[in-house]
């Protein structure tokens, strides 16, 4: 017998927190898949650290979402008992690890955004979100540093690493637009000073990317056609497989404590 999905009352604030929590959990989960399989032991350590930071962020955001919702949900119910259509993360973070270049480019795109985003969110008038942002900003700043150094080395390393890094950039580029999109519900939160408008960050994000790409002798794509859908639960095929693994215990053994 499989456990049914929980229902979540997605008020703008709950939805807001869920989206950020899902981003952090799914990306943290992806990175945790590397543990034991990285190109060098030093990178096993680094990627696990980033994964742990992200899982930590996810837990705080889920707890906040559960509190904001005020029903009987908690971090684990939100993580383990929502189906693929109920997940609200960016399409970018659910993309498979691929090779090391693909993982690091995905991390670079996301961290360059998250660093700016959480720094701006430190001014949120919601004190819990501001506190989560302050902690996440420091973590994201390091994630960005780590990823940038690798992008430079892969881009300006060997012919093979250059080709792989460029291919990863070209492949993942179309998933970056979603980071800056805002819907009506979120706009209400922005006006209330609870959330910030990610659209305002795009210029600086692009600047970070250009600086690093140019040092790495890599080129950013010109194509601005972007994939959308993650924020409303219209995902790529990859997320379902990830969730079937992530949720397997809770789905197989309903309602138990572990």
């Amino acid at each position: 017998m499989a456990t049914a999905n929980i229902e979540v009352s997605e008020t703008p604030l709950v939805l807001y927190a869920l989206r950020r929590a899902d981003d952090a959990l799914i990306l943290g989960h992806r990175l945790s898949e590397w543990c034991g399989h990285a190109p060098m032991l030093e990178e096993d350590m680094a990627l696990s650290n980033i994964a742990l930071d992200l899982i930590g962020q996810a837990r705080e955001l889920y707890s906040y979402a559960a509190k904001a919702e005020g029903k009987n949900n908690d971090e684990d119910k939100l993580a383990y008992l929502r189906d693929v259509r109920q997940y609200r993360n960016l399409l970018l973070v659910e993309q498979p690890n691929g090779d090391f270049a693909q993982t690091l480019v995905r991390q670079f795109f996301y961290s360059a955004f998250a660093d700016l985003y959480w720094r701006a969110m430190m001014n949120s008038c919601d004190t819990t979100l501001a506190a989560i942002a302050a902690k996440s900003e420091k973590e994201s700043a390091y994630h960005l540093r780590h990823a940038s150094e690798w992008i430079i080395r892969l881009g300006d390393g060997t012919d093979e690493s250059h080709a792989r890094a460029q291919a990863a950039i070209d492949h993942l580029w179309a998933f970056t637009g979603e980071m800056f999109a805002v819907d009506d519900g979120e706009r209400v939160l922005i006006h209330a000073g609870i959330a910030i408008d990610p659209g305002t960050l795009r210029g600086r994000w692009l600047q970070t990317l250009s600086d690093v790409a140019s040092e790495a002798t890599l080129v950013l794509p010109q194509n601005d056609w972007m994939q959308q859908g993650g924020r409303v639960g219209r995902h790529s095929e990859h997320l379902g497989h990830l969730l079937s693994e992530l949720q397997s215990m809770q789905r197989t053994f309903p309602g138990l404590t572990w």
């Binding site: 543990c35 060098m40 032991l41 350590m45 690493s161 572990w258």
Partner: protein
């Protein structure tokens, strides 16, 4: 233990070396002095330690795989974070140990290549599969418990870098066993299905864990040298007995049954276990355990697929050094 194949220590070849230096060396060991990397040491001491420390390092790294198998399926976010942190610690421990081994003059790359080529051993325990979540609890409780039993005396090993690495490892590992026991406790206080899962895991892991301590003293001929050099301070059977005595009450507290119907408690309070199946142990060490091939294949794959990344980093470093030299020349 993590270095259980070491019971084939190098025979002492000091006869071929400067007898005076060898005597001085032994006198330092007897006086509980620590030996440091640049100190003179008998070739057999160097070789034995290189092998033991690198085996220990390989065990930590291969040991990431059975537990890593459950990181993506951990049943709660709290458990997921704890397991990932634990497996990451094991990677760190492997790293400290490779560094300690390198002080004896063999590079990490060379040591790893030997492991990937199947020429170096690692602990037999990691060749068993993790089938259920209870296996993660059992590994933390028993495998880490056994490892700590072995590693605490190694903190006083005569070779300084190894002893220092062990101190750091023991400090970090203190949470691992507790993490495992907490998982077991949760299962044993849970549903019938969960209790059965816990018992099943104990049934499968108990005997392989006892084998971790290595062959019985009666058959291991070379421990003498390791003992004389103060690399090894307790015999395999001494440590195994200590472990069993510590573990039985923990199992009783959980309400689990040790899968050894012949086990009895003697007058001194020691729990006497039945004969261990040493044929299985030998087969697993020889490469015929349930997961030996998978483990090596996974490490080889990570190593091979990481080659282009390591090359890229090296190539970038060379380019940058070249640019800096060129700039300085201007």
């Amino acid at each position: 233990m993590y270095t259980q194949a070491l019971n084939t220590a190098e025979t002492d070849d000091r006869g071929l070396e400067d007898a005076g230096r060898a005597a001085q060396f032994q006198a330092r060991i007897d006086a509980e002095e620590r030996i440091e990397p640049n100190d003179w040491m008998p070739a057999a001491y160097r070789k034995t330690l290189t092998r033991q420390i690198s085996q220990h390092a390989h065990s930590e790294i291969v040991g990431m795989l059975p537990e890593g198998n459950w990181i993506t399926r951990a049943p709660s976010l709290r458990r997921k974070a704890a397991l990932l942190a634990k497996v990451q610690d094991e990677c760190g421990h492997g790293l400290y140990l490779y560094a300690a081994a390198e002080t004896l003059g063999t590079s990490r790359e060379e040591l790893v290549d030997a492991m990937l080529a199947g020429k170096a051993k690692y602990s037999s325990i990691f060749n068993y599969p993790t089938l259920t979540w209870a296996d993660i609890g059992t590994i933390g409780w028993l495998v880490d418990g056994a490892a700590i039993m072995n590693q605490i005396p190694l903190c006083r090993c005569s070779y300084g870098p190894y002893a220092r690495a062990m101190i750091r490892v023991c400090k970090e590992e203190s949470f691992h066993q507790r993490q495992g026991y907490e998982i077991m406790l949760t299962l044993c206080r849970g549903s019938e299905e969960q209790k059965a899962m816990a018992q099943d895991a104990l049934n499968r892991w108990w005997w392989p864990v006892l084998m971790m301590f290595g062959p019985p003293d009666s058959t291991s001929q070379h421990s003498d040298t390791s003992t004389k050099w103060k690399i090894k301070r307790f015999s395999n059977d001494e440590l195994r007995q200590k472990f069993v005595d510590a573990t039985v009450p923990q199992a009783q507290y959980l309400g689990l049954t040790i899968p050894d119907p012949g086990m009895t408690q003697d007058a001194d309070g020691h729990w006497r276990y039945s004969e261990i199946d040493w044929t299985e142990f030998k087969q697993v060490l020889a490469g015929n355990g349930p997961c030996n091939r998978d483990r090596i294949a996974a490490r080889r794959k990570a190593h091979a697929e990481g080659a282009w990344v390591r090359e890229a980093a090296a190539s970038y470093a060379a380019k940058r050094a070249h640019r800096q030299t060129a700039q300085a020349a201007e």
